[in-house]
Each structure stands twice: as C-alpha cells, then as structure tokens.
Amino acid sequence: MMNVENVYPKVQEIIADVLVIDVADVSLNARLIADLGAESIDFLDLVFQLEKEFSIKIPRGQLEKNARGALSEEEFESGGTLTADGMVALKNYLNEVPEEHFTPNLKVNEIPMLFTVETFCKLIIAAKATQPAEAATA
C-alpha cells in the first residue's frame, strides 16, 4: 500500500535533485517556495520528474483542481481571491500545511506558496490510486 512514508524518500531525492540542494535540507514539511527556493520552472521540472519516476500523469494545475474539490470555480474564488468556502476546501485538502500559513484574502496564484514536500507525496498517492482505475475503464 502506497503511503506518505514510503513515497517520501524518493520524492525527497527528486526535489533535492530538481532544486540542486542537499537531500538533508528537504524535510517533509518544508515549503517548496518559501523554504527551498523553488521557482515556477522548478514546479514544471518537478512534476515531469515525478511523472517519470512513478509512471503517473499529473495534469498541469492538478493540485489546484484537487484543492477545489467539489466546488465550482465561482464558488472557489472570486476575482482571483479565495472565497470563504474556497478557503475551507483548500485547508481541508492541504491539511498538512500549518494554519498560520493560510493568510486572509489568499489569492489563487498564491496557493503554490503553500505547497510542501508532503503535498507532492499526497499528489502522487492520489494519482497512483486513480490512474489504474481510469486506465481500466478507458
């Protein structure tokens, strides 16, 4: 059974490789942008490397889509800022992120600032869980 604990070592290694930092600097709760210095191109690189390593497909924007859950775009955000319902959905999805990192009036384009190493572990587990099922029904 795939879980955060057994995915983490490989994710940690890939993140260190993508960001050209020491593996020891990559902890499960480290934020990619604020703590590890990731830039937007690094996210593209990271997703590409994770897709290759875990044989999964992660569509661009999948994290944001997952965070939205059952909410429509209009329910999730208004004028680029998260609604109250959107914030609840986001906190629910990113439950590994400490409460103090969710600032009031958070903008949609600021969501990647919250992503931690664990966020990507969860993304892989979710993709692994859904994609064989999708392939089976295709």
Binding site: S40, I41, D42, L44, D45, P59, R60
Partner: protein
C-alpha cells in the same frame, strides 16, 4: 540579423510531428571556424532550430495565442558539427501539449546521419502578445509552411573549403564574440572557472527574439557555456583531448534582458571512464538564471 532558422516546414500534424529543413549556407550569419578552417553552424543553434520547429507546431495548435519559451531539457546531444554546404533535416515531436506547457523531443539529420538529438524538452507557454504581434508570427508561419517536397541531399565540398573574404572573416569574429563570455573572473585549473558576460541591446538576435520583449536566447547562452567548458578543459594537464558529447539537466530559470550582467560558475563535477562532467550555474547578481551539466568525452591521446 534574423534569429529564425527553419527554412521550410515539410510536414506538420498539429499537436504531433513536424518536419522541416534548414540549409547551412555561406549566407548564414551564425557560423564558426573549426581547426581545419571549415565553417560550421553554431552547434547550439541546431538545437534552437529543432526547438523553433516544435514551436511552430505549438503556436499553430493554439491558434497563435501563446508561444513556448525555453524551460527545461533533459539532454541535448551533439553528434558532430554541421558544416556550410550541408542541409539539416529536422523533426520535432510533441509528446504532451496543454495550455500552459509543451513537452517534446526532436532530432536533426544530415542525410541519414543523426547529428543532433534533443530529449525531455519542456517549455512553458506564455501569451504571444507579450513577445510579438500575432499577425507577424502568422505571416512568418504562412511563409514557411509551403509543404514543398524534401530536397535532394545537399553536401557541397566546394562550400566547405571555399576561401573566406575579409567581410566573412569580420563576421566570424563577431559571431565568435557573441558565443563566448567576455572575460574570465576567476580560474582554478581543474577545479573551477568563473566568467562574465554583459548582454548588449546591440546583439543581432534581439529584433527577432523578441520584438516586444528582447531576451537572450537560451541556446546562445548554452553556446557560451560550451565554449567556456572547452577552455576550462583545454587548460587541464591531460594527455587526452576531449569533445563535448552533450549538455544535460538544462534549466532556464529566468529571462535575460539587455543590460544584464551574467556570471557563469563552472566546476568539475566528476571525471571517470574517459568522461568529464562539468556543472555550470549561470546567475545575474546572485539570482539563478540557468543550470546545466556539460559532458565531455575523451576522443584521442595528445601526441
């Protein structure tokens, strides 16, 4: 000086494979001289040409609303130089395309011989209008996309060995300066080297790259890094000669505008089994601009 390299698109499946050609001729601006005084197309620009071929497909597929920009490449392998008088047969395949990025790979051949390969290329897509007028790009594409038949193999020995006139020599000197760093700042032979380059608005690639947002082409920067790597290795006390096999793990983090001062720090990362790996970080005032590794392989013993 134009920075558009595909001469003709021969076949194009939107979102799929594109084929095209580029003649390397005495009229080409971006050529260098090898040790035997043979003129060859600036090697990184073979990769630029493959990338531009892929970009035409991407832009057609999104109706010219967005254009790909340099991002990441897993590996760019340079099998041999492409000389004046030869014709590049180009092929680029889009592996994945959505509204934010493209993933592709490609090759360039001369006849049946593969001279260049690009794997794992990933480029973000940005609004076309930030870079160039949509109508200008459409007109450029329509002019290229004539679907002519593939030409006969072209390789003219007379062109390879033709004497250079003075203006051609001046041009070579100019191109040579464009694809080298301006000065070495620090050098510990066999350990590390740091070089600097100031980016001038007068550089000939800026009008095409791009009219509304001039930025240094990543491939020009890569050529500078390759030349720095050659210099670094030449200074080592080796009894072997090395050639560049490939660049790998290439990542362009930021745009480089006119007026930028670039600093490239290169170190010898590993040396084993006849292969050297040089690691290079290019930055501007401490901010990361580009990362890559240069792999050099032993080619012969020095007498």
């Amino acid at each position: 000086m134009h920075f558009l390299f595909v001469d003709r698109i021969l076949a194009l499946t939107p979102g799929g494979v594109t084929q095209g050609i580029k003649h390397v001729t005495p009229d080409d601006y971006y050529v260098c001289l090898d040790e035997q005084n043979r003129r060859y197309f600036v090697p990184s620009l073979v990769g630029e040409t493959v990338g531009q071929l892929a970009a035409w497909n991407v832009m057609l597929s999104n109706d010219f609303t967005k254009r790909p920009v340099a991002g990441i490449a897993e590996r760019a392998t340079l099998h041999r130089p492409v000389y004046v008088g030869e014709t590049l047969l180009l092929e680029a395949t889009l592996d994945a395309l959505d509204d934010s990025a493209v993933q592709y790979h490609g090759t360039a051949r001369v006849g049946d011989e593969v001279v260049f390969e690009l794997t794992g290329a990933l480029g973000p897509l940005l609004p076309m209008d930030d870079f160039i007028d949509v109508d200008v790009v459409r007109a450029q594409f329509n002019e290229l996309n004539l679907n002519l038949n593939q030409p006969d193999k072209l390789s003219d020995e007379r062109l390879l060995r033709a004497p250079l006139n003075e203006s051609a020599v001046d041009k070579l000197h100019h191109v040579n300066a464009l694809v080298h760093f301006d000065r070495i700042i620090d050098h510990v032979p066999g350990v590390s080297i740091t070089a600097e380059k100031c980016i001038t608005r007068a550089a000939p690639y800026f009008p095409d790259h791009f009219p509304k947002k001039p930025v240094l082409p990543m491939t020009v920067l890569l050529e500078c890094v390759m030349n720095l790597g050659r210099y670094f290795v030449d200074q080592l006390i080796f009894d072997k000669a090395y050639r560049i096999k490939c660049m790998q793990r290439i990542k362009m983090n930021d745009f480089v505008s006119p007026g930028t001062v670039l600093s490239a720090a290169m170190t010898l990362k590993s040396q084993q089994n006849g292969e050297l790996v040089l690691s290079c970080r290019v930055s501007s005032f401490g901010k990361r601009v580009c990362l890559l590794e240069l792999v050099m392989v032993e080619v012969r013993e020095i007498a």
